[in-house]
Symmetry: C2
Subunit: 330 residues, 2 copies
């Protein structure tokens, strides 16, 4: 069933059918109704490929993320997808994992599908070592990075000030009298570096010593965080509070300290559902996906409409205080 069939059945030309399809005003109501009725009757669906071929767009946006099963990325994908859909775009999703070669390959695959733009989710896509492949892609279509930063023509970034978030976290703890703060993190992506920097700046600001026995890079699992925390406690290293670069890690720290009979405040990151599953519930930094995502989509729509938009937008984080923190101070 094509516009030719519809046209023939209605005794009109394909141009008229096409006009009806595209809501052109240059069609008489009578004709329009006739065509519309026939389309419905014949259960006609326009061929998106043909349309895409002519317009050089299928109104699809590519989304790249390292792993949708991660709660943070999943939430971002969810928010972005919903928003894009209301704007009439479909979403082509590609999950890359952490290998650079795969990131390159999947970006290329999206490009081959002729998406209108690409949204990169998370700082794994702005590793300092190599984002040349992203810049290369940006020569062809606009790229939006959510929570990552690559300064380049046709690349637009919407991110949360994670450095500030960490500085604020240290501040929060310091003001309550905690001065030996454990910090566990998992990655040194752009965001990971910002967080670590924020932690260190926080220490410096409040004249707390930067003790290398108090910050560690571990793998991104609750188990690793538990193990590291337990190991530290057993080796006699003490701390009065803890911050983690991920809720997942914060959970592990808390589990370990509780098991050791301690009751210390733990601050997580991402304000994910995990933070509300522990007892006591975890205080956590909310990096405002609820704002980042719509902002990114808005920006994208403007870009595609040919408008000029700022290349970088920075959002302030928000610390959500929960039991893990409050209880201690009751």
């Amino acid at each position: 069933m094509t516009i030719y069939d519809i046209a023939r059945c209605c005794n009109v030309s394909i141009a008229t059918v096409s006009r009806v399809l595209n809501g052109s005003s240059k069609v008489s109501n009578k004709t329009r109704d006739k065509v519309l009725a026939m389309m419905r009757e014949q259960n006609y669906t326009p061929n998106a490929f043909a349309r895409g071929l002519g317009l050089n767009s299928m109104k699809m946006i590519g989304i790249l993320c390292t792993d949708v099963s991660d709660t943070f990325f999943a939430k971002a994908v969810s928010l972005v997808e919903r928003d894009l859909r209301t704007r009439g775009f479909d979403v082509l999703l590609a999950c890359t994992g952490n290998e650079l070669e795969d990131k390159k390959k999947y970006l290329q695959l999206l490009l081959e599908k002729r998406v209108d733009a690409i949204i990169l989710i998370g700082s794994p896509f702005s590793e300092l070592e190599d984002h040349a492949y992203i810049e290369e892609t940006a020569k062809q279509i606009p790229i939006i990075i959510i929570n990552g930063l690559v300064d380049h023509q046709n690349i637009y970034c919407v991110l949360c000030d994670e450095k500030k978030a960490m500085l604020k976290s240290v501040e929060l703890l310091h003001k309550q009298g905690y001065d030996k703060i454990l910090y566990l993190y998992d990655a040194l992506t752009f965001g990971g570096q910002q967080k670590l920097l924020g932690y260190k700046q926080g220490l410096k600001k409040y004249k707390l010593p930067e003790d290398s026995h108090l910050f560690y890079r571990i793998s991104k699992t609750t188990e690793a965080a538990m193990q590291k925390t337990t190991e530290l406690l057993q080796s006699g290293i003490t701390f009065s509070a803890a911050i983690a670069a991920e809720d997942l890690l914060a959970v592990g720290i808390q589990k370990a300290t509780i098991k050791a009979g301690l009751n210390i405040p733990v601050i997580g990151f991402n304000n994910s559902i995990l933070a509300k599953c522990t007892t006591p519930e975890l205080t956590s930094v909310d990096n405002r996906l609820d704002i980042l995502c719509p902002t990114a989509v808005n920006k994208l729509i403007d870009i595609l409409a040919g408008k000029k938009v700022p290349q970088k937008t920075i959002i302030s984080p928000k610390i959500i205080e929960r039991e893990s923190f409050k209880l201690v101070h009751k």
Copy 2:
């Protein structure tokens, strides 16, 4: 840059270029090398729309799920996406929410993009009230349902026996001497009904009374589960163990019982990351997404290859016992 350009540069016809593109054997090595070199030199990328128009396929699979930010659905999408990609398919993702009208609309949207097939994730897509729209779609392209059941031509289901899972859960508790088992659930989708049925069958099998004060439908949040549990305890309703239709709910039950100073075993469902965030960690039913998803993709590939495959595949669940259960019996 099109095959015309490449053809001209190489002094060959577009047919030859096309053959090279498609790996036809009817091209001399010399010509092939020349063309390949030119493609690389010109940084040529085939136009997927034109290709799709001719072949009536862009090698895209539509995935419909109610909500990717749900950990369970996210994991399913993640597994399916990765698997499809290795088979050379791209994934068009649509999240519908729970409204029937939206489910219909988004299914239609995927259809308009001319996907090769559609995978529905989760039992929200096999509600008994209305899956006519799915059957209608199946007239056009094959549909795979992961963890849902619609018995119809061109619809293929891969699911976990959740009824059995619940029966086994009751059994597990009963064998340890627990006979007043609270059951909280959130939805009466196909899966939700199976689980409830399994719970009741379990009770019956072990001659436990089916007490309407012990099973409730609540909304799908940890808070709701906490609140309901607390409310029950306060109103004097007692139970010696609990099962939830979702880890999210199990977490809430456990938080409430711990707060009330109780130590009762709680069994969750989905074996999600949440089950490992609580202290003690939750025993949970694993409904084998790790098996369901690859099975679904395999089946899909076979269907698209014109092979005959069984319409229904059922996988056995697995109960993962953790502290919440073991501790009590130490």
